[in-house]
């Protein structure tokens, strides 16, 4: 199925969870936070399955003033 990660289209397996997506992208869950359709999904809910056309944002620390 197709999901949008940072506005880019990605093909992912049907029913993939948020945690599985992060592992697939080789991102450390402890240093990332995830929003789906502009809503934060807490780490405890990363077993939630994504749905087609979900918009995923993965945020991480960055320099800031």
């Amino acid at each position: 199925m197709r999901v949008l990660i940072h506005d880019e289209e990605h093909e992912v397996p049907e029913g993939i969870t948020i945690g599985q997506l992060l592992r697939r992208l080789d991102l450390d869950q402890a240093v990332c936070a995830v929003a789906v359709n502009a809503e934060h999904v807490p780490r405890q809910q990363h077993d939630r399955a994504l749905r087609a056309d979900d918009r995923v944002d993965i945020l991480a620390p960055m320099a800031g003033g």
Binding site: D26, A33, I58, L59, A60, P61, A63
Partner: protein, 266 residues
């Protein structure tokens, strides 16, 4: 004096009154060295989309985490209450802190914070238990609203972000200090020189948050030390009590016992 002049902000006791940003340094190593040199205990960071191919965020965090500082995440880039809440919740999860520098820009030219959005976002964040550090103008009415909502910290600008103009209106800062003696008052933005930071402290501010003035200096580490010393000097000046300025000159040497050549004039 440094040892005993601690202060409490956001539920934590700090020794340093200089808070530092993490952006715009020549290199990560230079950032670390400058931050350690200035003695800051609080560092501001932002949250951005992580590109899995670059993993820049994870690399950045590895540089900052080991410094062992209190992290103050900001909401830079947010344009609505909903965006602020989402980023705030994500920041709380990553950094395990309720602290949040609330930054919502209302004008692209001056980067002036949006006072209306600021109040609405602060109210929503406080309801979720965040300790809100609002980046604001030096408007006393706005400060009144934020304090009434429950903000214990006020962070007025001295001048627009990154401008280095210093404190453009001392009277307004002085008024904020007088009106809100219990609030932690920090100048955030516009500081360009160590003397600006010292002045903010002389006016009774509890601290100074700055970034560009150190990061963009020819020698960021040297400038970090200069700011550290300036903040301490200004703080000492405030505690010692500045003399009131006079309109006219007043001789500092005593008039009694003037030498003989003045005796005929008296």
């Amino acid at each position: 004096m440094e040892d005993v002049d601690t202060w409490t902000v956001g539920g934590r006791t700090l020794h340093s009154r200089l808070l530092i940003g993490s952006a715009r340094y020549p290199s990560p190593a230079n950032m670390r060295e400058a931050i350690q040199a200035c003695g800051a205990e609080v560092i501001t960071v932002s949250l951005r989309r992580e590109n899995p191919r670059e993993r820049a965020g994870q690399a950045f965090w590895s540089y900052v985490r080991d410094l062992g500082l209190h992290v103050l995440p900001n909401t830079a880039g947010c344009e609505s209450v909903e965006e602020v809440l989402t980023v705030a919740r994500m920041a709380r999860e990553i950094f395990e802190t309720d602290w949040l520098k609330l930054e919502v820009i209302g004008d692209d030219e001056t980067l002036q914070p949006d006072p209306f959005l600021l109040v609405r976002a602060a109210e929503a964040l406080l309801a979720e238990g965040f300790v809100v550090w609002p980046y604001m103008t030096d408007d006393v009415v706005l400060a009144e609203r934020l304090v009434a909502l429950g903000c214990d910290v006020l962070m007025p600008w001295g001048a627009p972000i990154g401008s280095g103009q210093g404190i453009r209106d001392e009277a307004r800062l002085r008024r904020l200090r007088q009106r809100f003696p219990a609030a932690a008052l920090l100048v955030d933005a516009g500081i360009g020189a160590p003397s600006h930071a010292a002045r903010a402290m002389e006016l009774g501010c509890d601290g100074v948050l700055l970034n560009t003035a150190i990061a963009r200096a020819a020698d960021p580490v040297g400038m970090a030390v200069a700011f550290r010393d300036a903040v301490r000097a200004g703080r000492r000046g405030w505690l010692a009590g500045l003399m009131a300025p006079l309109e006219r000159g007043e001789a500092s040497s005593p008039m009694v016992g003037l030498p003989f050549w003045h005796q005929e004039e008296r």
